[in-house]
Each structure stands twice: as structure tokens, then as C-alpha cells.
Symmetry: D2
Subunit: 154 residues, 4 copies
């Protein structure tokens, strides 16, 4: 539960707003991409998980602080780390950092394993709480033991 | 099939990009809002339609031309008019126009019935083709006769 | 600073995700639409404000709790109320409620003044902190006195 | 002008709608990511281009046909190929294909150079016309000769 997963995110036109910066709501998308890839790195694809278990992850709480803006063409490193794993939910700490311009996409090939760049500026950090629910009723369910086992090893 | 439906759309931060203007992909959202409200004006709610018929509208072709940009706080008038109604699909012509600043939200209260403002600038026009499909398999279906009847009267 | 502003928001396809419900990041859009319309109700258009003062509102912190999901075609009532007004920032409490099906768009014509519907279910509530910054440098600025005056009267 | 650029795009929750499939407007985002990375592969970053030339690419026409839907977790290969290069605009043909499940992210490391997978299903194809405009006035400009030279070599 203490390892940090990292995923690169490039800023495109779709992510920006008329302030010339990344629209703040879009960090929730960036954080979710990193969570999804973290789950995938554990062998968990959410679509298949739903078909196999009838369950679904849903976000129940988000708390974000915005420190500095990102701009078009910026390359971000988005991290995810589980800070709490309960019976029917988990909480993750997530951060978005600005990578320096010289960090090429190539350097990010092994992004999941990449260490935290010394010079990366913190743009946004978040606490995200996620519940496990029945996909049909959206009622809370206990996390399946096999899932808890996998998450505990991450 | 020849009446034009109109719906007001306000431009918010979420709609803009770092060019300072409405992100072009978002006109597809504006056009869909107008189509949804046009269907609602005919008594058709898509969620209920799906539950009752097992069918779903899906967009199969879009063609848009962008004439002038819209900006934050602009008030648009978005129109929808059926130009072709087939057995399993229909085509709509849609336009987004910029309303002059003095057109208040109040003036738009009766937006659906509003006539085309003489001074409204054309921002974007589109041809949108929509198919009727099985909600589970997404395979094309014939439009239910009751639906065709309603659409023919619009 | 104690009045509550309310604004109707309809759920469209663009707002939903494959879980069949409103994608959680989109509540930030709904809350912003309500804040923008609240400012407009005070005579403040953000584009003009920027041209006149060189300043810009930016979101610096968000904290959201998701209670129940909204679905396609649902009609929400989104509220905004200033809970703290500082020198360079303000904090708002915002809520999204589900309006009962019989609440027609017509009933919402006077939405800003509408009282809180007794039967509306709470879907999501939020605390949103907003800073006032220089539009060019994005550095924090003191809120212009005229703006503070207006906000204090809201 | 005849080479095809390819870029991988993963489908996340943010991309889907309540139909359980990718929301059709989002293919415009996928296509733009591929165009942006194609330009980057030519050494062109749009933010820097704007600062250096005062010019900006804007989309002036889009025509999309949707053949099959994509779903959560799908991995797409999005292509871009210039089909016409004029004085103040260019037209690209773009396609989104579904990669078979066994195509891992690793296989996509050299995605730009990847040949077209024999078994990839066509999901959506598009013709996108792009103009070069003055970033301040948004009026059409002639493409800078150095830019035309680069694009001709792509």
C-alpha cells in the first residue's frame, strides 16, 4: 500500500481554458487516468472487473489543491498512492507535477517505475476516496478478497 | 419535418480553450443539447425511450463548418431542423448563432418559439446523421412507428 | 454573503459516463455554471471584468462529496453561497440537488429566486475556494474594493 | 505529405457516456492529440509556434463517420495524414482503429512508426480542415514558408 505509481500526461488543447491554463476540473481526469493505469499495472481492467464481479469503483470524495497552473504542451507526471484501504473503499493521495521541458516522451517510456524527478514542480495534489459498489444498484459492497489482496500488494 | 427548434446556450469556462475561444469539439455538445431539448419538446425523454423501447439514438455522421469563434460569456442560439427522416435514421441541420449582448436570458424564456434574430451572426453550422439502434447490441433498428409519427409532426 | 443563489442544470449525454451516471468531474462544471450565473446576477461578467481590471478568478481548492448519482435527463438545482470573503480569495459552499420529475423547465424560469424544494435529494456538496489573480502573471491580487462591495451585498 | 502518423489512445471513463461507449464528440479530441503529436514529431510545439510566429492553427471544418463504437479500456490507434496543403490551410485524413486486446502498451512504444495492424477494426474516420490564423485577431494568414517546408516533408 505504500508504493507510488506514476503516469505521464501531456496537456492538449482539450485540457485548457480561456485563461490559457489547464481547466481545473481536468486534473480529476488526469488523476483518474493514473489510477486506471495503476489498476491495469496490477492486472485489473475495470471493464472486465465489472463483468466478472458485478462491481464498480465510484469516486465518493475528492479534495484538490491547485498550486501552479499547467499550460498547452506541458508534460505532467501524475502519481497515485493508496493511503487507506478499507472494507468497501480506499483513499489515494495523488499529485500532478510539471516535468522539465527536456524530459522527453522517450524518457517516460518506463514512467511507472520512474523515480520522482528532483526538479518537478508540484501543480496539484489531491486526496481521492473511492468506493466499491454494485454496478446495477450502485449500493456499497465489500471489496472482493482477491481485489483487497492485490491492492495490498501494490 | 420543416420546423426549426431553437435553444439558448451560454458559453462557460468549461467550453473555452487556450485560444480564448470555444473549443471546436464543444459545438457537438451544444448541438446535442438542442436536439435533446427538441425531442423533449415532443414529449420524448431519451432515458425513458430506452427503457420503453430498448432503442437508442446514436450519432453516425457529423459534418461541421466553423465560421466565427464564440467566447466566454457569449450567448448562443442553437437550432435543429430535421432535413431527412428515413427508416432507421434521420438527418438534422443545426446552426449555432451568436446573440447580440442585449439579448437577455429573459428574452430567451420562450426560446423554442423564438424567431431567428435578424442580427445574429452564424458561428457554426452542421449536418448531423443519427441512427436508431438496439441499446444492448448497438445494431441498427427500424424507427418505431410511433416515433416516426411524432418526428413527422415536429 | 448569506444569500443562496440557485441555477438549474439539465443532465445531457455529454455529462454521463459508462457507469450510466453523471461523471463525477462534471459536478465541477455544474458548480462553476452556477457561480458564473451568480456573478452575472450581480452584474459581473468575467470576460468584461478581465478587460476592465486585468484580474481573473481562479479556483485554488475544491472539496466535493458525492452522495447519490444523477442520470441522463435529470434536472438538478445547483446552489452557491459565499461562506468566506477574504482579501484575495473567497470560499463558496455549493450543492447539487435532484429536482423531482414534475419540476418542469418552466417552474425553473425564476430559478435564481426559487426556494429550496422540500423534496430535492442532495447529490453532491462542495466547498470551493477561489482566488483573484493577475490575468497575465496569475499571481494573487487583492480583490478590487468595488468587487468586494458587490460580493458583500450578494 | 503522404506519410501516415500513428498515435495510441487509451479509452478512460472520461471518454465514455451512458450508452456504454465512447461519446462521439471525443473522437475530435483523439484526432487532435494525434495531430498535435504529429506536429511535435516534426519539431513543432504549438505553444512555442504561437510565441514565435503570432500564428495559431484553428479547425475550420470537420467531417466524421462513426462505424463501430469503442468502450472503456479499449486501446485505439489514431492516424493522421495530410491530404491537402494550401496557402493558409491544410486538410488531414484521420482514422481511429481498435487495436486487438493483445496489443500491449509496450508494443505501442514505437507507435508513430508502427505499421497498420492487419486486424485493427475501423471505428471512425474523418476529414479535418485546419486554417492558420493570427492568434490575436483570428484572421486567416498565409502559412509561414518554413512551416510549409516542414509539413511538405512530413
Amino acid at each position: 500500500m505504500s508504493q507510488t505509481f506514476r503516469w505521464p500526461v501531456r496537456v492538449y488543447w482539450e485540457d485548457t481554458d480561456a485563461g490559457g491554463i489547464v481547466f481545473y476540473a481536468n486534473y480529476l481526469k488526469f488523476f483518474e487516468r493514473a489510477r486506471t493505469e495503476w489498476l491495469r499495472s496490477l492486472g485489473l481492467e475495470q471493464q472486465r472487473l465489472r463483468e466478472q464481479t458485478g462491481g464498480l469503483f465510484v469516486v465518493t470524495e475528492t479534495a484538490l489543491r491547485y498550486h501552479r497552473p499547467a499550460r498547452l504542451d506541458d508534460l505532467l507526471q501524475v502519481s497515485a498512492r493508496v493511503t487507506e484501504l478499507g472494507r468497501a473503499s480506499m483513499t489515494l493521495q495523488q499529485k500532478a507535477r510539471l516535468l522539465p521541458p527536456q524530459a522527453s516522451q522517450a524518457d517516460l517510456g518506463d514512467a511507472a517505475a520512474a523515480s520522482e524527478p528532483a526538479v518537478a514542480e508540484l501543480l496539484c495534489d489531491a486526496s481521492i476516496r473511492i468506493g466499491w459498489v454494485d454496478a446495477a444498484t450502485l449500493r456499497p459492497l465489500r471489496l472482493p478478497p482477491a481485489l483487497v489482496h492485490l491492492l495490498n500488494q501494490s
